[in-house]
Symmetry: C2
Subunit: 350 residues, 2 copies
């Protein structure tokens, strides 16, 4: 690697994934520079406290330390600005890349959606871990990337650190996918697997999931199936080239699944999993998220409490399954790094 590409980047959102991403910037600095020829420079960062902006680069370690002390980026020495907005930062700061890791707002996608639109329109590439803007405005965002000749990558939005989107978009680009099945939500798989393996009730398993950090305090988005449905909509747009909407997905959660149901399934040699499915039907796909009784030899039936997975049934590439064991949000953050490398390194190699 003879030259090093310097990439000034902005980060929005310093929660679970955003913090892990900053840790990766520190931990993988040498690997990125020496092995991949990429120097990532954090020129701006935003969270709910405000922003910190420095054209020559902020220290990721200092941001991580602020968050560890319960402070926001507005407290960043010299460069922090209390109350500064993420959108204003994207509008006015020079950078080559926007990383969007703010929480999904499924009402209107904001402020992530405006930040992404602004970045793309200003000629920045965007890597997002935030599902909401994609679910609400995929076609519009895709158009923006084409108009402005930039890339929008989002491998981190589906199944954490598993390259589920990349596998479908890239490795199956010439294949027809006539069926896609996924266990795309960690919380529900954790709950169902613990119920089945350890005989826990739904409430007990949910409490375990929350204690282990695998479920939110308000788990409704997960357990009612909507998180998996969001991911399915993103896969439909990006991998199946199918203009899905959330309203077009038949969604059923796991809140009514009882220990008795699981015992009954086990007695029939089945495993109950929350499965997101896209099934080809003529020119369209039927999309659903629902608890399914899978045969024990189904590739998703074996997935443990900390696993997610996807199965692509194709015309020319056989049946391809991929799964990940994800103990923390680190792999999800690594998927954002993967997208960055894809944008810069793979293009540089050509």
């Amino acid at each position: 690697m003879t030259t090093t590409q310097k990439v000034p980047l902005l980060l929005i959102g310093v929660g679970n994934v955003g913090q892990r991403f900053l840790e990766l910037l520190i931990r993988k600095r040498d690997t990125l520079c020496d092995r991949l020829g990429l120097e990532l420079i954090l020129t701006g960062v935003a969270d709910t406290s405000g922003v910190a902006i420095c054209p020559t680069g902020l220290d990721p370690q200092q941001v991580v330390q602020l968050k560890a002390k319960g402070q926001g980026v507005a407290a960043y020495p010299r460069w922090g600005q209390s109350g500064g907005s993420a959108l204003e930062m994207v509008r006015t700061t020079e950078a080559d890349l926007l990383l969007e890791a703010s929480p999904a707002n499924l009402e209107d996608g904001q402020p992530g959606l405006s930040c992404i639109e602004t970045a793309l329109s200003r000629g920045m590439h965007v890597v997002t871990a935030n599902k909401a803007p994609l679910v609400l405005a995929f076609p519009r965002l895709l158009t923006l990337t084409r108009v402005h000749g930039v890339q929008l990558r989002f491998d981190a939005t589906v199944a954490g650190g598993l390259p589920a989107v990349n596998l479908g978009q890239r490795d199956l680009a010439a294949a027809e996918i006539y069926r896609l099945e996924g266990i795309l939500n960690l919380t529900t798989n954790y709950i169902l697997t613990r119920m089945a393996q350890d005989g826990l009730s739904y409430d007990e398993a949910l409490a375990h999931a929350q204690a282990a950090g695998h479920a939110e305090t308000d788990p409704s988005l997960d357990v009612e199936g909507w998180d998996a449905a969001n991911k399915l909509v993103i896969l439909a747009h990006s991998v199946l080239d199918y203009p899905a909407t959330l309203a077009g997905v038949a969604v059923e959660g796991i809140t009514h699944v009882t220990a008795e149901t699981l015992r009954q399934a086990a007695a029939e040699g089945k495993r109950v999993k929350l499965v997101a499915t896209a099934e080809r039907d003529g020119d369209r796909y039927n999309l659903s998220v629902r608890p399914a009784w899978l045969d024990a030899d189904h590739p998703l039936a074996q997935l443990g409490p900390k696993q997610m997975g996807i199965v692509y049934h194709t015309d020319i590439s056989g049946v391809i399954t991929a799964a990940i064991v994800e103990e923390t949000p680190l792999p999800t953050a690594s998927a954002m790094l993967r997208d960055i490398i894809d944008i810069y390194l793979l293009s540089a190699a050509r």
Copy 2:
């Protein structure tokens, strides 16, 4: 997609994989043109009978029909040349891309190795399904790609249509892989799985594999573990950045595995699989191929008779498993098409 890229290409080898690739050229012609903006033009093809060369493009259908009639490409009307050599074709024919699908010659890699070297030196990209040149000369070939600014892709050489190489090279580019495990050979997995599931003896299972087209008449390369070892060497070079040699792999085949061994393993809740492993040990990797007793919940333990798979244990991306059901060589041919798309389409998008 506004413009169509025309790619003149040469194909060497019209056996199982080469024929399937030609069928894909026909079957996916519209998808490639309309969806991906890629027009692949077969300007030359070589097999043991000779070559057929036509600057404006041969008809893949005619080549497939010749092979179906038991004839070689030398019999191609007007453009066939009896006895013409593949290497001479690569030396003298204008093309942008060489596809190498001739049988692996592990003695000296020829004629594939010389053809690939010549193509790279002439500024052609190369996509190969032939393992031997990579196993014997990976570093030299990599240097050639750098000197001449071209790409060498070989996703089809490992685990058929599974993007095992791509997953490791691309999606785990920033990750450290401290352990890699794979079921990389279909024949041995077919034999071991049929023995375990159906109580067949080794000889019976081998006969079934041969009858089903999953094993060669001389199966020694497969059953003695060398085919898997070759694939492990390719993964070591390409994914682990580790300069492995075949001599450095501890290889043990499955010829001594008995039905009794499998019964004993099953009684202990284990499955016996031929597993290729690369395990980090300080600055190096220990490489081995041997029958392993896997726990029933090991991600490779469940793979059926027509499956191959790989597991990457990483520092930042969790544990990622990928597997494929491969009934015919079609997915392997689709991996060659995947590599072509990667070379042309992903670069064009940037």
